[in-house]
Amino acid sequence: MDPLTDTHSPPVLAGSPAGQVTALYQAYATGLVRLAMLMLADQQAAEDVVQEAFLGLYRRWGSLADPGKAPTYVRSSVLNGCRTVLRKRSRHLPSYREPHAESAEALALLGEEHREVLAALRRLPARQREAVVLRHCLGLSEDETAQAMNISRGTVKSASSRGIATLARILKEES
């Protein structure tokens, strides 16, 4: 099962580019929004990033050598989009761009235990967080994570293991 689709088989791609991109979106959007939410803690911002990634895919559909690699490509685009949103947030005061109120409300519905884990996740350095989210939250393989992050498998290993160690320390300190 693809952890980003929650389905057992990839979508059948046929028809117009718009139709194919839409089919991919229908199959992958929820998983990718989940990925972006883990990074951004804001569903509205997460959906914006995912929408933009698919718009980018649509614009470049004709230049894709292998449409089968579109999910990998769009996953990388989502990660890039998250990095940019986080970079922009970092330029401002913490209160300058709070998560959308609805997202804040949704997060409040999580139990304290889960909120602590997610808060600790967001304290990780960017690449550790990406590696941990892809490997351990979404269950991607090392190869898939490496492809999505444009880094080597060895780097995925070190980043995710280091991220887990850091998370353990943060959670221990806060308990």
Binding site: G81, E113, L138, N150, S152, S158
Partner: protein, 432 residues
């Protein structure tokens, strides 16, 4: 319960709180069309809807007082629109969006007057383009390319290696772009580059970076690494010329994230002064100028603060700031957020380098939008600047995407052809 188990449980719980994802809103254009430069619009012109945090209008904006509600200062004699276009550099290098073939960004060499792409330069094997800067000759650019190397110790963060390339362009020839590796090297430890600027005469490269971000296994304080360092290099020999450092431990900014010129590092036209925002990507922050012929090695005491970056929450905030090439003024681009909407329009402001005071509003976005930002890419003498404006508008529940390029002068917009095909604009991805 292990940390991994707790992560999975939290992810499942988070998934349970998600509302249904909204449908994909594709533009009516056919694929392929939308990545080409558009014909200039008429009527409302470039005031066009763009998507969330993404669609970008690149605007070459002359320092014309389109609207002055800040003081009695009179606008300088404004060049005509045609003169403004003629005085701005013609050719640009842009790091495009990810190339699906190799996962890295290409460097696109383009003609801003015709919209023609002169060359598409792929990154050399094993490295990815991360930032670009240009000289005053409109022909010479330097590109930073990064790659990860093996960790120094097991479980350490792998150092990021920077390799520097010169990109010489020769429009109208059979070889319009030539990429040459430069003998410039940053320290061997992982270095986050936050500023790069090629001197006007293309002889010196200035790099602002933070070395030593790698830490022991499990150390989460990666961003509080080594001291910020400004170093100049000879482009011919690759040798370091001068180095200035900030006191270690006093600056706790986390840097990195893919943008190479967060600090908006730039030279004055005489090659004597560097200007940069410091600390980068943070607030409070200051625009500082540093005389590269002066004595000393301290980045802080050796430089002079010329402007306290305005509060990010106010309309005259500075998303980006560049000292003009004559060193007398600074051009600032502001950002507005969805909570403010375009009741606070993104705008370009002019500040005095002598007093640090806002002189006037150079240009204010006039359309309706959900949010927007204005960033300065290039400044020249005689009151010319090139900037980027991004605006987002939501029509019903749908975000629409478009962009356009142009020159603003004497209250008139003259379209240019500088496509912004990437999903986001990052400082250092576009250079003239």
């Amino acid at each position: 319960m292990t940390v991994e188990d707790r992560l999975r449980a939290a992810t499942d719980a988070l998934s349970g709180t998600m509302r249904q994802v909204r449908p994909l809103a594709l533009p009516p254009e056919q694929p392929g069309r939308v990545s080409r430069p558009r014909e200039p619009r008429r009527g409302r012109g470039w005031l066009i809807p763009l998507t969330a945090a993404a669609a970008v209008i690149a605007v070459a904006a002359t320092l014309v007082a389109v609207r002055d509600d800040r003081g009695p200062t009179q606008a300088p004699t404004a060049p005509t629109a045609n003169a403004a276009v003629a005085s701005a550099p013609r050719y640009y290098v842009q790091l495009g969006s990810l190339n699906p073939a190799n996962g890295f960004r290409d460097a696109i060499v383009g003609d801003s007057r015709t919209g023609k792409t002169l060359a598409t330069v792929k990154s050399p094997a094993g490295v990815g383009f991360a930032g670009v800067t240009g000289a005053a000759d409109d022909r010479t650019f330097v590109i930073d390319a990064t790659s990860e190397t093996k960790p120094i110790k097991p479980n350490e963060w792998p150092p990021l290696t920077h390799t520097w390339y010169q990109l010489r362009i020769a429009p109208g020839t059979q070889h319009p772009a030539e990429l040459t590796k430069l003998p410039i090297a940053l320290p061997a430890d992982s270095a986050g580059v936050v500023g790069l600027a090629l001197s006007p005469d293309a002889g010196t490269l200035a790099v602002l970076f933070q070395p030593g971000q790698a830490g022991p296994a499990g150390d989460s304080a990666r961003g509080a690494g080594g001291p910020f360092t400004l170093r100049t290099f000879s482009l011919v020999t690759g040798k370091p010329l001068r180095t200035w450092t900030a006191p270690e431990g006093k600056i706790s900014t986390t840097v990195g994230g893919g943008s190479d010129n967060e600090a908006d590092l730039t030279w004055t036209a005489d090659g004597q002064t560097l200007a940069f925002m410091f600390p980068p990507a943070a607030w409070p922050s200051y625009e500082r100028t540093l005389n590269v012929t002066g004595k000393g090695t301290s980045l802080l005491t050796g430089s002079r603060p010329v402007l306290a970056i305005p509060n990010p929450g106010k309309q005259d905030n500075c998303l980006s700031l560049l000292l003009a090439s004559d060193g007398r003024t600074m051009v600032c681009g502001s950002e507005t957020t969805g909570s403010h909407g375009c009741q606070q329009e993104p705008q370009f402001n002019l500040y005095s380098a002598a007093t640090g005071k806002l002189t006037r509003v150079l240009y204010r976005y006039q359309g309706t939008c959900f949010s927007g930002e204005a960033a300065v890419v290039w400044t020249g003498a005689g009151g010319t600047a090139i900037g980027v404006i991004a605006a987002e508008r939501i029509v019903k529940t749908r975000a629409t995407t478009d962009w356009e390029v142009g020159v603003l002068a004497a209250g008139k917009f003259t379209p240019l052809h500088v496509p912004m095909p990437t999903d986001y604009y990052d400082p250092g991805q576009l250079a003239f």
